[in-house]
Symmetry: C2
Subunit: 571 residues, 2 copies
């Protein structure tokens, strides 16, 4: 069975679960009518199924290569990319003034999920452009906007993000790339950047690098960093790619997976750049780009989870081993309890992770449409959870997918291993999941936990409302929310180091409770009868309970982490 975008799940989640109905009710997104949403989901599904999914194996087996200083992309990728660009799929949420459709980011996230499930390597490319479009819309001069946004939105040009340097990873403030004014309003950018996804390729006519660098009078640390647009080819007076800029690809990383997505070491050698936003305010501009990019990476995890799940299910339904243990079974290994358990878990986790990401994107849309602080806080709070749970789910589900395949999962020919290798990077890039957790328990809880408590109120309210009709599902969700509330009340009273010690398990527990909440809402929408109710029961009964041990770990404090000295660790 080839990949089939789960259009019905998106439709159900948007119609009944994540509160998306508020979005088309706003003035900004009035055009996102039910018909439009359905049309977008359906057409994107076709693109993913028919055009993108066939590229998945090519990207792995014939990865991008660096030849004579230029990157050649995998066979078929150029055509696949052009289909995404020509269909307008890159600029779904772009400003209509620059050729975008102006539709909610939730639809972009849905489409990106489908594309990632079909082929993560190629799906990563438009994500970078989308992040760049947002950053430019928010911070660039009108001149830069007019020059770059139409090309990025149409997909004629693509974007990259240049943050990391060998010594400056999670600590971006340690970067040493320099920007020196040329005297004509432009800047000479010099330095080396690593981990630049799609830093070069042959699928579009220009590549626009957003580069973090330090001006001569920039302070040390993050406060002295500025953001620059550094195109591969400097646009001529007509806005067409002109002379080559002074930058080059030094090498491609040899990665565990995602071979179809070239990860470049970039060298800027006095390259001409244009400042984006204010001097020394580059981090703020980059954060605009990074927030939605983080959600988009979570979405990648969900997409790969879907692909790995469908792949494993198809294999299980073909593979016969021994006598079926159930009546009216399929006669395949999908009848065996433990294989079935893995398959249902894969589906239940993927569904929950998708719901969380769509709830996050809905909040982003509402924040954008209303400017409301509450929506902004909700979007900000849900982003690290969506990023980490989406990617953890992608990794977990791909791992289960390998296991369902048995020996064939370890053999590359089946493709199960590719999902496992490809998705592994998602819990690392765009801020590791540990960094997400630190963001969650520190910055995102500077409100004293207010946003967390509002989410918990919402969960408990829904659970209370379903007490009569769906008590068996509602009660454990309510209780879990209460346990999470107590842990949150404790957490916000702690110093930062104590919070950080428990940040990752706290983040996991929050995702678990949210996942159960959206499953419960699905069951409520089905009035307790239907496949999503059965899925909800599985999640709530079998997976939700681990929130308790996660919270015990979250509350265990920092001291025990340092009770073993470094010398003792190294014994």
């Amino acid at each position: 069975m080839p990949y089939r975008a789960p259009v019905a799940d998106f439709q159900f989640l948007l119609d009944h679960v994540v509160g998306f109905e508020a979005v088309p009710a706003t003035e900004k997104f009035a055009e996102a009518t039910a018909d439009t949403v359905t049309a977008i989901l359906t057409e994107a599904g076709k693109l993913a199924d028919e055009v993108i999914a066939p590229l998945q194996r090519n990207g792995d087996l014939q990865g991008a290569v660096l030849e004579n200083g230029v990157v050649r992309s995998s066979p078929g990728f150029k055509e696949g990319y052009e289909a995404m660009a020509e269909g307008g799929w890159i600029g779904i949420s772009g400003d209509p003034e620059y050729g975008g459709m102006g539709l909610p980011f939730t639809l972009t996230a849905s489409v990106n999920d489908m594309i990632a499930g079909a082929c993560l390597a190629i799906g990563l490319n438009p994500l970078l452009s989308q992040g760049q479009i947002e950053a430019l819309e928010a911070h660039a001069s009108d001149e830069l906007k007019e020059l770059y946004l139409p090309k990025l939105t149409s997909g004629e040009w693509t974007g990259t993000m240049n943050l990391t340097e060998p010594q400056a990873g999670s600590d971006v403030g340690a970067l040493t790339t320099k920007a020196v004014p040329n005297g004509d309003g432009t800047f000479a950018i010099t330095g080396q950047k690593i981990y630049i996804s799609w830093g070069d390729h042959d699928m579009a006519e220009n590549i626009c690098h957003l580069v973090l660098a330090r001006l001569p009078d920039g302070a040390p640390g993050t406060k002295g960093i500025s953001l620059f647009m550094v195109p591969k080819y400097i646009p001529d007076e007509n806005g067409n790619p002109g002379k080559a800029n002074d930058l080059r690809v030094v090498s491609l990383e040899h990665k565990m997976g995602l071979h179809g997505s070239p990860t470049c070491v970039m060298s800027y050698e006095g390259a001409t750049g244009w400042i984006v936003g204010e001097e020394h305010a580059g981090m703020a501009a980059m954060f605009t780009m990074m927030n939605n990019a983080r959600l988009n990476v979570g979405v990648q995890g969900v997409g790969v989870a879907e692909g790995a799940y469908q792949h494993a299910l198809a294999y299980a339904l073909e593979r016969k081993q021994g006598k079926t243990p159930i009546e009216n079974g399929t006669g395949t290994i999908a009848d065996f309890a433990d294989v079935r358990r893995m398959l249902v878990q894969m589906r239940a986790e993927t569904y929950a992770a998708r719901a969380i990401s769509l709830a996050c994107s809905t909040a982003i849309d509402m924040a954008g449409a209303t400017g409301d602080k509450g929506w902004k806080a909700r979007a900000a709070f849900l982003t690290p959870i969506a990023k980490s749970y989406g990617t953890d789910t992608g990794i977990k589900v791909a791992e289960l997918g390998v296991q369902v395949h048995g020996g064939m999962g370890y053999v590359e020919e089946t493709g199960a291993a590719q999902y496992y290798r490809d998705v592994r990077v998602t819990s690392i890039y765009e801020g590791t999941n540990g960094i997400q957790a630190m963001d969650l328990v520190a910055r995102k809880m500077m409100d004293g936990g207010d946003m967390a408590f509002r989410l918990l109120d919402e969960i408990e309210g829904t659970a209370e409302g379903a007490r009569e009709t769906l008590g068996e599902l509602a009660k454990p969700v309510w209780e879990a929310a209460e346990t999470l509330r107590e842990a949150t009340e404790w957490l916000v009273e702690q110093d930062l180091q104590t919070r950080f010690a428990g940040a990752v398990p706290y983040q996991s527990a929050f995702a678990r409770v949210l996942g159960a909440y959206y499953h419960l809402k699905s069951a409520i929408a089905e009035e307790g009868r239907g496949p999503r109710t059965a899925l909800a029961a599985f999640y709530i009964e079998r997976l939700l309970p681990d929130h308790a041990s996660s919270l015990e770990q979250a509350r265990a404090g920092a001291e025990g982490l340092y009770a073993l000295s470094v010398e003792d660790l190294a014994v």
Copy 2:
């Protein structure tokens, strides 16, 4: 930091934790004196560190290849193999009559753990010979024993196990390979076998295939299967490799990892074989081989966990990012709470998994030395737990190792990714961890749970004994054992399908409680003061709590697994 075999941990576990002191007190193993044990551990550690570890990257980057029908092993592997053979490391536990040292299997397991941590791919080879030695010792005719055992024990020849066929994986009984009597006491073996690890290579002068096949009058299913010795070269009258047998390597699998270990598709084309054991009793003979092989695979997981842990720790202690959050820190990322959490978890899980595997091997030794049913039952019960927890730990720790490395973990050059890719097969081969769990809750609990309860008595007794001195650690261990006892009492009353539905989470919970128990014993041995006590506290406080949610899942029953129809799953 290159790999360093954790000799001190082995010594401590054997001296204080896993009950190994009973082994040299038996007549059979009287020679396993304290000095001998220390010498074996120390020398094996040197071999692993100095000879085997340097092969790790070769095995990945220049994997085994099939050239003109023969397998060429990775650079340096032949010399590494010869060092293992010449040092006598393959036959540590072999019968002295055939050149073995006759030492406890626990020492074999310890050495295999070290070798696997240094380089899993080459370490897999002697495991197969060791399994074959055991099977031959138990079932072969004297003639076969005299011909093969000395060569296998010395490592001049190596062994393989041939069970799987394309349609017969977990369902071994579906195999179709035929054995037809030649009339001279030998048999003509015809069929195709897959997943044959080290099915061919250039490191030894002969390769001895143990092959499961069906005689013409063999019943369908597992009851009609016999076991045959089918050597690559038929020994001549002097017992030296003579004429080539009618078998060949069809192809090598292209795997996610373990590239240094050739995984062969073997074709037997009327090859000459000698029966091992009785006709139609091949499964029983194979199980002799499989039981210790299963433990040995668990040990592989532990070894890789150790390698991945040491690798990540070394990286963390070199990598500087941002300002250290603690006083008197190292100034590296190992100071950050979440990185430290990952590192300590890696060490704590590895330590627990190693303790369980050594407790299992100790029971095997005691069973072998005393013939006592209780020891046999203990060994049998612990085997699936040691196999599954060891390999799950290998995978989990390698995953954390990648995460500690950040972006560098996804780049192949660091080697972190290799651990992750290599170890992934261990939860699949030698019976998937799901198969182990089914074995645990069915066959291994046909005693009505008696062995489980005896283990729980032991755990609770130890915890009670430590109540005064180490109450904070002992109490949660005692409580967890009680929760596990209740779940076990429930489980043994259930039908098979219900047990199978919860088998994997039950198995995980049992491993978790056992892991905590051995950590507690380590703390007791340190009298509550020392690094192992700190490690125990981490494990008991932060990791043990998840036994509760695992047991909730174990008790959730089978019905909910099938509440979603196959059609609903495929939506």
